[in-house]
């Protein structure tokens, strides 16, 4: 017995708010970067400049949507869609509040991992289809990066899964009613957050689109709304990373006094601000540094963390 109207309403609310938030995030990021660089950022259009994203959107819709003659047309066109679709699909399993989730899958964590891995394909085939050296270098870096972070991303969030005893994200949140998983799983949190930054192509792991070196990396050849889709997809993956961090390690919607949705939003905004702060403060790593750091430091730590967590849970169970 599924209440279809309830599901449809949830889908509409989550889809609408995700896309609006992703658009607004562009403005939020520019304002916050401004704050941390002692300037204002866009403050002209609307109160505090909050309509800047709207103006950007109107502008980007009127831009020429150009497909380079040397590109692989079919692949080139579907790639931006993959970014946005995979990011939005992941939101289907995100529980924002009790019973406020599109699909309460019992393998929610695995679904999230699968979708985020699929998103990486868009970068790879987008760079390949562009038939451009810079885009191709960006894709190469994305692949190298993928091989290093994807492994310990899964392993480092398994600690939370073991503690909750379930792959269902709502169960994981409910298991944190008394203690957030960030305390027993601090190493897991660090590993997951780092992998998430690499997944969302954010500083310090934004090598696939390193502006200073590769023009715009894998989306150098994209213009108009196709570029806009990449952009929105990137901000959606920031939202997704913050949401997943909150759910897995920071108690999801749990919190005193305020309603669950507000707590979820506040925690999520905290992580979004942290991600933007990291962009304002940290330099970009070389991708061989990410590779060696991922394989030699984070991967063993995540494995030890998994082993110890598993051992402790078994020992407590007797």
């Amino acid at each position: 017995m599924i209440d279809w109207s309830h599901t449809a309403l949830t889908i509409a609310v989550i889809l609408g708010s995700c896309l609006t938030l992703a658009g607004m995030l562009i403005w939020v990021e520019r304002r916050l970067l401004g704050v941390w660089q002692e300037r204002y950022g866009p403050n002209r259009l609307g109160p505090g400049g909050c309509l800047q994203s709207l103006a950007d959107m109107i502008k980007i819709f009127t831009k020429e949507d150009w497909i380079p003659p040397f590109a692989d047309k079919a692949v080139f066109v579907i790639t931006p869609a993959i970014v946005v679709i995979t990011a939005l699909m992941s939101f289907a399993v995100i529980p924002i509040a009790p019973n406020f989730v599109v699909a309460d899958l019992n393998v929610g964590v695995l679904f999230f991992l699968a979708m985020s891995s699929l998103a990486a394909y868009s970068v790879i085939i987008g760079g390949w289809a562009s038939n451009n050296k810079f885009a191709f270098l960006g894709s190469l870096r994305a692949i190298a990066q993928l091989l290093s972070y994807e492994v310990f991303m899964g392993i480092s969030l398994m600690g939370a899964v073991i503690l909750a005893g379930s792959f269902n994200l709502s169960d994981i949140v409910n298991a944190q009613q008394h203690q957030w998983f960030v305390i027993p799983q601090f190493l897991g949190f660090l590993g997951f957050f780092m992998a998430g930054l690499a997944e969302a192509h954010r500083t310090p792991f934004d090598m696939p689109e390193a502006e200073a070196e590769l023009v715009a990396g894998y989306h150098s050849e994209y213009s108009g709304m196709k570029f806009g889709m990449f952009f929105v997809g990137e901000y959606l993956s920031i939202l997704l990373l913050s949401a997943m961090t909150v759910i897995l390690f920071f108690g999801g919607w749990h919190g005193p006094w305020l309603p669950p949705v507000v707590w979820f939003g506040l925690k999520m905004f905290g992580f979004i601000a942290l991600i933007i702060l990291i962009r304002a403060a940290w330099p970009r790593f070389r991708f061989d540094q990410l590779l060696s750091f991922g394989w030699k430091v984070v991967m063993p730590l995540a494995l030890i963390n998994l082993l110890v967590t598993g051992g402790v849970v078994l020992w407590r169970a007797g």
Partner: protein, 180 residues
């Protein structure tokens, strides 16, 4: 291992230093609403000034035009029969789309006629509107030098005084006499 620790500490310290900027005021000047302070010697728009008597200072000597590194000043000298055949610019044209605001014309000017003033708001939609003619350049005031009148100091004859009768002038030396 020691290095890893130092790197990690540096990253966290860097994050904290940037975060502290949340509580500082932006240094941005919100330009159209908030006008920046320009010093009096700011080199902006070029004007042609008049002397305290209200006459044009420019004597059309072409020194500004010759000094201009980008050749943006163009003028034509003419004699004014009403004022002792005195030279004046028949036309005076500055192409501000070429001007680099270096101030060399002002340095070259012997009569303080051409001056750069603190005004930089010269945006135009059409490039031809940046070519200023004499009537655009000539102002009614004296600019930066309020009391300076070239003819009063140069020892030449003017409408109301003869040679050597000016304020800082000595009487003309009789070059034919042997006496000092």
């Amino acid at each position: 291992m020691m290095n890893t620790w130092i790197y990690a500490r540096n990253l966290v310290v860097g994050l904290w230093i940037v975060f502290k900027r949340t509580f500082t005021k932006p240094v941005t000047v919100q330009y159209p609403e908030e006008q920046p302070y320009l010093p009096p010697r700011w080199r902006g728009r070029i004007v042609l000034t008049r002397d305290p008597d209200g006459e044009e200072r420019c004597v059309a000597c072409y020194l500004c035009s010759a000094a201009c590194p980008v050749d943006c000043i163009s003028l034509q000298a003419a004699d004014n029969p009403e004022a002792h055949e005195r030279r004046y610019p028949e036309f005076f044209r500055i192409n501000f789309s070429r001007c680099i605001y270096c101030g060399m014309c002002e340095e070259a000017c012997p009569t303080n006629a051409i001056q750069l003033i603190p005004d930089f708001e010269q945006s135009e939609y059409a490039r031809r509107n940046l070519v200023y003619e004499k009537e655009d350049l000539l102002i009614s005031g004296t600019g930066k030098y309020h009391d300076y009148n070239f003819y009063r100091m140069a020892g030449v004859r003017t409408r109301d005084k003869d040679k050597g009768e000016g304020e800082h002038e000595l009487p003309p030396v009789d070059v034919k006499s042997l006496m000092p």
